[in-house]
Symmetry: C2
Subunit: 195 residues, 2 copies
């Protein structure tokens, strides 16, 4: 569902605010909770499309897709520089078949290597290469400057927004709330090999 368009170059704004327009229609015909929920989904959809267009444009200029970039980044932050394909599938919530596809491509491009797991012959490890680190770092710097730092919200507003979305994700069981804090702390502690 990643439609084209984009911010600078080749982008056309929609003629009006589709979120508010459809909110009016919904408020007239259905329950208030349905109208506000529809508005939330539509607003998230259009915000996602807006940002994803910009992100994908940056990725294309580095010969990546966002999915491949995401995998590279997690590989960079790992202390061993390696992750199992199943971990990638579970954490990034990418179906196994898609992970295979992504890893195939990253390997073709020599950004990672596939390595057999030392103790479990079923398992494959992806290991990032030097070239992979270079590409991921360059893409990150570009992304930070071109997209992330340019989002039109103040720091408190950004925090407010991510907090609201966190609550939405918790209520939708998007991640394991029980065990999350410990893992996040652990990720925060290590810092090897990034940047």
């Amino acid at each position: 569902m990643a439609r084209s368009g984009g911010h600078r170059g080749g982008f056309e704004p929609a003629p009006f605010d589709v979120v508010e327009a459809s909110r009016r229609v919904w408020e007239r015909h259905w329950e208030p909770e349905a109208a506000s929920g529809m508005a939330v989904f539509t607003a998230i959809l259009r915000s996602y499309q807006l940002l994803a267009d910009e992100v994908e444009r940056v990725m294309r200029s580095h010969d990546l897709t966002f999915a491949r970039y995401e995998v590279l980044t997690w590989l960079m932050t790992d202390p061993e520089s390696s992750l199992t394909l199943s971990w990638i599938s579970k954490t990034l919530r990418i179906p196994p078949a898609t992970v295979t596809n992504i890893i195939d491509r990253l390997e073709q491009d020599k950004l990672i290597r596939r390595v057999a797991h030392p103790s479990d012959a079923r398992t494959t490890l992806a290991v990032i290469t030097t070239r992979g680190r270079r590409v991921a770092s360059a893409a990150t710097e570009d992304l930070n400057g071109t997209v992330y730092e340019q989002i039109g919200l103040s720091e408190p507003q950004r925090r407010e927004l991510t907090d609201l979305l966190a609550q939405l994700r918790v209520s939708g069981n998007e991640f394991d709330v029980e065990r999350s804090d410990a893992v996040v702390e652990e990720v925060g502690r290590r810092n090897k090999g990034v940047g």
Copy 2:
């Protein structure tokens, strides 16, 4: 970028909160604005995936995709029950080739008909059929009850969230701010043929 998974049935939560985990990594290595912007994008992405999975599951049970449903809904709310393909492309920000594809499929399924524009021979109108109205209404009721009303946020929080995302979209020029209000008012005024 519409990955699978889903809420009820075949869904597995991620092992931890990817947004907060990567925020820690970013805060350690890059500018604060890059970290908060990354968190905003990632939170929007994962919220979108969460909701879109549920939405697409509902759509599948009505033999629709969300894109096809969106077009049907806008056709329902139109006073003439018809829209030009170019209007659909601009408003929903779907590339022309994709609109052709969507309209092809809706026509195959007899949910819309293609009709020549009365005065401009270049232009094609999509007109919703009775069957199309039935399908769209059923899908909407299902969607309202199954997804939109179930989002885990209070009414004030929903408003706060859509307001923040509106500001993000305005700053990214997602829609024509100048002319939007007038159109939204006009959409709100008419109510023919919905529900």
